[in-house]
Structure formats: structure tokens, C-alpha cells
Symmetry: C2
Subunit: 408 residues, 2 copies
């Protein structure tokens, strides 16, 4: 039997259920005869480069279970991209030193790229290593999987919040007539679209939804808002942070700042659009910016999402033990009336650095709302609640101890 | 027995539990032999002036029960202040026409002022009317009551959100090092202070808290943030929207806009402070603006708060039936180890237009955090969860039918 140690790492922005995937991977690894030591890397790929590893065998099993409903990235995460070939070489050297034969990387697009490159180098150098990517992202933009763990919980949180805010603002006669909710979603509108799940009857919020998949035109937007204001008196508008004009430029562009991957940092779009509305239409409003809450509100996680996140973590380990490498676990939605997903495998190379956008046919022709096809897709993903223990009025979340691993 | 009809109305910004008070008042009124018809005014005082009333006897009792966990203001609310003496005269005329002998007004400072004036006019004109105010405000700024229904739920939501966001951002190594959470609180820091309940151990978020009760100094603030950044690497700062400088001017002043009461509209303070941090300290960050969610997130309401809100609604009706008028129901915290509040009555005149601030001794000397005395005060208010039924992945909230009342 092919045996060795494993490293599990988390990367990128956390989700409400990224630790559920971690729990699945840890529990499967602890239960596998093919895996000896189960190491966690602190803060993703950085933890490996810095040999900052922890021994997950020594954690309390109750803490591992608690990860299934704990926000953040319990091992620590990072936004760090290996750039130089030497970094990859160094990584492989460390894997050799610790006899790492299994590498599980929980992350999004950039992380799958890193995992693909590590896998390729190991193959080139003839080092027997099994690399499996575990998908996570609230953005839901990974290709070749029906959806991404993390998305369902963020979708549920946003839909519930917009439902509640919609009831609130529609019940109050005030001079504030427009509410703009700015959601995450750098290049895709999956999260903004999910707020449509809040509607229970015609006229309910959200009244307008704008996605980056459709070119944004300011004049049309202002006409839309004015029309919705006439119709509903109080208007709740949802905008995805990364709206683009017809030339592909960000509507609101804080050009001075870029993140470590060279992506433009967004934020402030909602306020920018509200200023336009107040100036041009003389209608007052306010901005709601859930920001980090979208990915950390584990108290309102989707049970479906949390369970699937756990399942993909387990599936990654099982696939690796069976010999797979260079793959990412994908969720495959099964035919039939009842919603059901199974775990499959797709090539990391096919996933890395590619983005899945909301299909144009799931957005209405005017580009200011979604269609029933999107609702049918998204509704099953927010089903069920996670039963979180409360203590002293607040959810109880776990920490890992993080027993350090000695340098060999 | 003194008998007549009653009107219940809701006013000002809704809270997560304002409808729980409504349910308490309706159920007590329906059960009282002294009250004949039980009317609701649509959109507060406006609904009375416009004779837009609904017959609450005809609502499904299950809907009334459902109000105990439904956000928004189910009768409709408004921000509208009676200004002219004629408005008050007109109000009393309408009361006479509908034989209204009981008036219950659920609201904050401004609403208690309105209720006080209505009561005074009725006394002057010899019209036998019993007016009782039912307190509600997330801001917790009403005097003569230990706390206000609505505050505990907003406090719990903010504390849980900051707990979750704190875990998230502290787990992620990124170039974004500062998170600024801007809370509601026009002149008082009760909501900002409540985020301190999120802390479980030293070093936990929030790392800095700024309240309007202490004059804000930009240079000191920047020094605080830089110091916290050195200490914690990732800093979560909470600011109350209404921070003032030593001369009493708003730090961020959108002077162009005022609300109907002449209060300055705030918002944008978080982004303003972040810009300062990014420019002066060269530390990157992001803003979280929960805005409306603070008062509408019934899915995370405090059980203590929801129950007390219901109790003050009932107590208002019971007091009126027993002959009280010109009073507001207040919550009186009882001595002893276990937290327990009873309902009492205070004069509306003593409450109207007065604000209760966070005591200076509950804020640390530096003015950037709260003390243990505040924690002892606030912790009991967030205890317990409200069991909300979910359907199709989202909380189920009720609507009232609103059967119209015919003009007599």
C-alpha cells in the first residue's frame, strides 16, 4: 500500500463552511490506513514554506467536529501566490523532508492554480505525490462544479438579510427611499443574484439586481431606479461590487490600490451609485455593506452547504488514497425532482484561473434582475439550518490548539 | 367600568422586536373587558390623521403570535412629527369620532414627545383618554428605563457578527489589515459598545471602540490604530456613526442633508476614517456597514429582548385599563444575582426628547474601549435565542391582513 504523511491547507478568503471541508478532510485522513501523519499548514502555502505545521492527530475530536460550524479558516489562510519556480522547488523539498505524499488544498481559483503547478512539478521530478483541490468560495465562480461550497451559506445569509431589510424599509414611511445593498462578487454576480431568493410575493425586495455579467449603463440604471421608486415608493437595489461598463471598466474604480494578485480592490460602489441617485434623481437613500459578514455568518449557514462542504473534504482524501492526483473535487447535481449532488473529480488544470459566470439566459433581457432558471438553480443550495450551540447569548465556535510539528 | 376603543400605532425605525410589543399590546387589548374595538393605525400617527385604520380583532390569532418573531413594523411606521397645534386638535377629533379611549404608541424619543402632547391636550380639553407609550429603539437612548426593547437584539446581532468577522479576518493573512465596522447610534454609543460582548479572550476583536460620548481626536485615533496594528497585525475597529469632535461637531458631516426632524443624516464615517488610515498610516482596510440589518435581523433576536418587548406591550394595556395615562412603560432591573426586569411606569414628559448616554465611567479613560461595568449591564440583554420557523431555507415572517375600518 502507498503510504505517507499528508498536509491540509486553507487558502484565500474564508467562507462560513470552509472549516466544514477541513473537518471532512481531517476525519477522512485520520481514518485512512494509507495516511500516517495528518499535518495542517498554518496560513496556507505560507505555512508550508515556513515549515509552520501543526499536528492534527493531537487535536481533540470534539474540536474537529466543532469545525463543522465555525467561521474563519481554523488553520489560518493567506492570499499568497507562488511566483518563482524556486518557490515550487522549495515546496517539494519540504514535502520530501516530511515525507508528505498527500496534499489537500482548500481554496478558490488561485489556489487551484497553485495546486495544479505543485502537482505538475512533482510529476516532472518523479516525486510520488497526490494533490487534490477542495473547492471553496462564496463567489461560486469555479468552473466544472455545479456550485462551490461556501456559496450556499453566503446566499442564504444575503437572502435572509435582504428579506428582513426589505420588510423593514417597506414598513417605514421616511424620506429615505432607496437602499443599496452592495454584495461581494469581483467578476461574477452569483451573490447579488442570490438575494432574489428573498422574494415571497410580487413587489417584494429586491426590486433591482445588477450583475457584472451585463454591461452597466448609468443612464439606464437611473431610469430603472426612478421607475421602481414610482412603483414601490421604497426601492431596494442590489449591486455586485464588480460592475463593469460596456468597455469592461469598473464603474467605481479605486485604481490606486491592487491586491497581491493584481486584482483591483473594489468597495465604495454602493455609495458611489447612491450619490448619483441623490444628485440626479433627488431621491435619498442609504447603503448597506455586509462585506466580511457574507463569508463569516456561520450562524446562518445552509445545512446543505455545510454538509456538502464536509463531503467534498472527505471525498478529496478518499480520491487521493485511491490514487487520484491533479484533481479537484466537484459537485455534480443529479437529474430528478429532488435535489441531490454527488462528488466527482475534475482536472485542476481545467479549473485553475478560469471563472464561471452567471449564464446570460439566467439574467433578464434588461439586465436588472434574474430569471426563474437562476431561482431553480439556487433555491436548493440554501436549504436547511445548522444547529449551532449558543453560550451566553452568542454562538460557540472552536479553535484548534495547533500542536507544532518538529522539523525533521 | 370605563370602556372604549383603542388605537395602537408604531413609529420611527423598526427594531427586530417592535412587533413583539405590538403582539403583546394586541393580545392584552383583545383580552380586556374594558376595550371594545382594537384598531391599528397604518404608518403611525399618519394613519390616524388619514383615518387609515385596520381592525385587529379580525386578524388571525396565529398571525398575532407570528408577530413575536417578525421584523419591520407590521402596522407600518413613519418618521413624522406633529408640528402644528391643529394637528393635535385633528387627532383628538378623530379619537372622539371613533370613540378612542386608549392610545398606545410604540416608539422612541420623538414618539414619546408626540404621545405626551396628545395626552396633555386631552386633559386640557377634558376628553377622557388614556395614553401609554411603549418604548422601542435599537439606540437604547430612552431615559428612566434600564434599557429599551430592541436594543438587546441589535446588540446580540452586532456582537455575533463582530465575533464571526473577527475570527474570519484574524485567520487570514492578507494586505487588508484594518476592518472598520460602523454601527448605528446617532448620539449615543450603546450599539458600538455592545460589540465588546464578542470577545472571548484577550486579543479578540473588537480591538478599538469609539463612542459619541467621548470627543474624538483624529491624531489619537490614528495612533491607537497604529498601535493596535503592531500588536494584533489585523485590527477590527468599531465606530458609532455619530462621532463628535471636542467642539461637538460631527467628524464626518454630510451637512447637505437633514432628516425630517432636523437631525443630520450620517453615514460614510467608516469610509472617511478608513481613507485617513490608508493615507496617513499606509495600512489598507475595508468597511463593514450593517446599517438596516442591525434593526431588522430578527433571525438572531435575543429571547430576553423579544420576551421583554412582548411584556412591555402587555403592560401598557394593563396600566391603561387600570387608569394610568401620560406614562411610558419602563423596564426596571431588579437587585440580585440573576438578571430580572419588571415593568414600571414613568412620566412621558420626563422621557420625551431626552437622551440617555453611555455613562463616562463605563468607557475607559482613553475613550477607545468600554469597561467591565458595561459588559455586566449588557450581557444579560442578549441571552437566549428566538426559535423562528424556517421554510424553504429562509425565516418565515408574517403579514397582517389589515382589514380596513369604516369611517364612522
Amino acid at each position: 500500500m502507498f503510504k505517507g504523511n499528508c498536509i491540509i491547507a486553507q487558502s484565500g478568503g474564508p467562507t462560513a463552511v470552509i472549516n466544514s471541508s477541513l473537518a471532512g478532510a481531517i476525519e477522512a485522513a485520520l481514518g485512512s490506513a494509507a495516511i500516517n501523519e495528518v499535518y495542517g499548514a498554518r496560513h496556507g502555502i505560507l505555512g508550508i514554506l515556513q515549515q509552520n505545521l501543526c499536528d492534527l492527530r493531537r487535536e481533540d475530536p470534539a474540536s474537529i467536529q466543532g469545525l463543522r460550524h465555525t467561521p474563519g479558516a481554523a488553520l489560518g489562510s493567506c492570499r499568497y501566490q507562488l511566483k518563482k519556480q524556486e518557490d515550487y522547488e522549495q515546496l517539494l523539498d519540504i514535502f520530501r523532508r516530511y515525507n508528505i505524499r498527500y496534499f489537500f488544498y482548500i481554496g478558490g481559483n488561485d489556489s487551484m492554480d497553485t495546486a495544479a503547478k505543485v502537482n505538475r512539478l512533482a510529476v516532472e521530478e518523479g516525486y510520488d505525490l497526490r494533490v487534490i483541490g477542495i473547492p471553496k468560495t462564496v463567489d461560486n465562480d469555479l468552473p466544472l462544479t455545479d456550485h462551490c461550497p461556501g456559496y450556499g451559506s453566503a446566499a442564504k445569509y444575503l437572502a435572509a438579510s435582504v428579506l428582513e431589510m426589505g420588510i423593514d424599509i417597506q414598513s417605514l414611511i421616511t424620506s429615505t427611499k432607496v437602499a443599496i445593498v452592495e454584495t461581494m462578487g469581483r467578476n461574477t454576480g452569483w451573490l447579488a443574484a442570490a438575494t432574489a431568493l428573498a422574494r415571497r410575493q410580487p413587489g417584494d425586495a429586491p426590486h433591482l439586481i445588477y450583475l457584472p455579467e451585463v454591461a452597466f449603463d448609468m443612464a439606464t440604471f437611473l431610469t430603472d431606479v426612478e421607475e421602481a421608486y414610482r412603483q414601490h415608493d421604497t426601492v431596494l437595489v442590489v449591486v455586485s461590487e464588480g460592475l463593469l461598463d460596456k468597455d469592461g471598466n469598473y464603474i467605481f474604480n479605486d485604481a490606486a490600490t491592487q491586491d497581491v494578485f493584481g486584482h483591483q480592490r473594489l468597495g465604495g460602489l454602493g455609495q458611489f451609485l447612491l450619490n448619483k441617485i441623490e444628485t440626479e434623481l433627488k431621491i435619498k437613500g442609504r447603503v448597506i455593506l455586509p462585506a466580511t459578514s457574507q463569508r463569516s455568518a456561520t450562524h446562518l449557514a445552509s445545512r446543505t452547504d455545510a454538509d456538502e462542504a464536509y463531503a467534498v473534504g472527505r471525498a478529496a482524501v478518499e480520491a487521493a488514497v485511491q490514487g487520484a492526483s491533479g484533481k479537484m473535487v466537484a459537485l455534480n447535481r443529479q437529474e430528478g425532482e429532488a435535489y441531490y449532488c454527488t462528488c466527482g473529480l475534475v482536472d485542476l488544470d481545467q479549473v485553475a484561473n478560469r471563472e464561471k459566470k452567471v449564464p446570460r439566459t439566467w439574467i433578464n433581457p434588461q439586465g436588472n434582475d434574474i430569471t426563474a432558471a437562476f431561482i431553480n438553480y439556487a433555491r436548493p443550495l440554501i436549504q436547511g439550518e445548522v444547529n449551532i450551540p449558543y453560550c451566553d447569548g452568542l454562538p460557540t465556535y472552536v479553535n484548534l490548539v495547533g500542536h507544532p510539528v518538529q522539523t525533521p
